[in-house]
Amino acid sequence: MTTRNAGEGWEPVVLGIETSCDETGVGIVRGSTLLANVIASSMDEHARYGGVVPEVAARAHLEAMNPTLEAALAEAGLGIGDIDAIAVTSGPGLSGALMVGVGAAKALAVATGKPLYAVNHLVGHVGADVLADDALEYPTIALLVSGGHTSLLVVRDLVGDVELLGETIDDAAGEAFDKVARVLGLPYPGGPQIDRVALGGDPKAIHFPRGLMQAKDLEKHRYDFSFSGLKTAVARWVERAADAGEEIPVADVAASFREAVVDVLLTKAFRACADFGIPRLLLGGGVVANARVRQVAAERAETQGVTLRIPPLSLCTDNGAMIAALGAQLIASGHRPSTLGFGADSTLPVTQIQVDERPAA
């Protein structure tokens, strides 16, 4: 890595590339300062299919890559020569989509002679918080929820010690929102739609099942999630009502469904805080956009004496800035760049924060 600018207080300018799902994200940070965060989303193209189509997403990444790189540099007011290092998501995610970012990042690194850091997408979500004004304290529990993942982590050191406590054993929480929205005849993506129609609904009107929350699940699936049964229960309830010729109380169904999801997510997250004696909870991922998630989290944090962190929404959904931020933290803690031989790993475990770190010389 270049030592040209190295010195006391020097912070590297890192460009991060993220293509694990349907957002082409390029972000630029200087140390823990956000300089640019540009996202091109192919969400509209997926809407008519009712979910992310991997090949459609990958094609969109290819077309969006250079315009997004250009826009991010313009937003930061920098030229490509001002970048000190490049970071890229290696996984987990959709493999064809990931490969577009990996190919671009490697070529850009060789073209510019800059070091390249291949990083974990989920840890990137945690890394987004580095860009907040006040420093995040470790250890922390982190709950990452989106259309692609539902993971509960304990983060003892952002660049050295991340452990997966639990994850969904079937659908991601965001997927459940999409599917229930469809049951209610609402468009994709479901999250904002459910939020919209739940307004004024009674969250206690219908008691929908909470997955993996029974006594027998306390051991094996203590921190795992399941939303498939909930989704089916909502569909069955709506079908029964329709068969009986009743008018569907959309607001109540949406509010009650949302309450079940929020309840399970947060019960398990705060349970982890209590179990581990860690009074800190970080939320990340697109589902954080859901107003009810934020509201209930704030209430429970208050009563349980837990410090709640929620990065701004633009840093919660998939983005390149969080990847750049994690890259900058790896550099600051003395990690060496990745070798050029890594690939896209759709199932990269969260314990692998950086991929293929170059061996010490």
């Binding site: 299919y49 390249l116 469809r182 069955r236 890594f342």
Partner: protein
């Protein structure tokens, strides 16, 4: 001087100066484009003793080729060009195969055929005249039994050499031919099934 990249079959990268291929690195592996692309670019630049800044352009093989791998080379070419602030020159990958045949002295009608997976093939027809090879039809996609142009000499290729890709780009330019293939040549729509009516969950 240019860098040429093609991942429509395996992965091939070359540094080309005029009519000379200074360095070429390839692998026939059709599953590891993302893994090898960075090392191959680095390798050919080192072998050619060329700094990225000394390159005038980057030639990208636009296919036809199976999606996932094809994209890796195109995005790498575009990002590399972005990194050095030089243009990307898109070229039909089959043109490189025809160019190699032509360079070896073959003349007359030629049909280039490559694997498209899923029991289909890509094809392009060329006329190899003394002055230059010219694509007269294609690229197209079809099942093996429906490959057209039986009058042409058929060549089934498993590799696209980036050296030839770079040289054919320069030949086209010298002839004033434009390579106007801005979009990747997938020749197939994405595999998507439109959601039908939602199925009932209860009986």
């Amino acid at each position: 001087m240019l860098l040429a990249i093609d991942t429509s079959a395996g992965t091939s990268v070359a540094v080309v100066d005029g009519d000379t291929v200074l360095a070429e690195g390839s692998t026939e592996d059709t599953m590891r484009h993302a893994e090898v692309i960075g090392e191959l670019i680095d390798l050919v630049l080192t072998e050619a003793g060329v700094e990225p800044d000394a390159l005038d352009e980057v030639v990208a093989g636009m296919g036809p080729g199976p999606f996932t791998g094809l994209r890796v080379g195109i995005v790498a070419a575009r990002a590399f060009a972005f990194g050095i602030g030089r243009p990307v020159v898109p070229v039909v990958s089959h043109d490189a195969i025809a160019f190699e045949e032509w360079s070896a002295g073959t003349r007359g009608p030629l049909l280039v055929v490559t694997d498209a997976r899923r029991r289909e093939v890509y094809w392009s027809r060329y006329e190899l005249a003394a002055a230059a090879p010219l694509r007269t039809s294609g690229p197209g996609l079809c099942v093996p039994a429906a490959v057209p142009h039986p009058e042409a000499v058929r060549i089934d290729a498993t590799q696209v050499g980036a050296g030839a890709l770079g040289r054919v780009a320069l030949l086209h330019r010298s002839l004033g031919r434009a390579d106007d293939v801005a979009e990747p040549l997938y020749l197939r729509s994405p595999d998507v099934t439109m959601p039908g009516a939602r199925k009932r969950v209860s009986q």
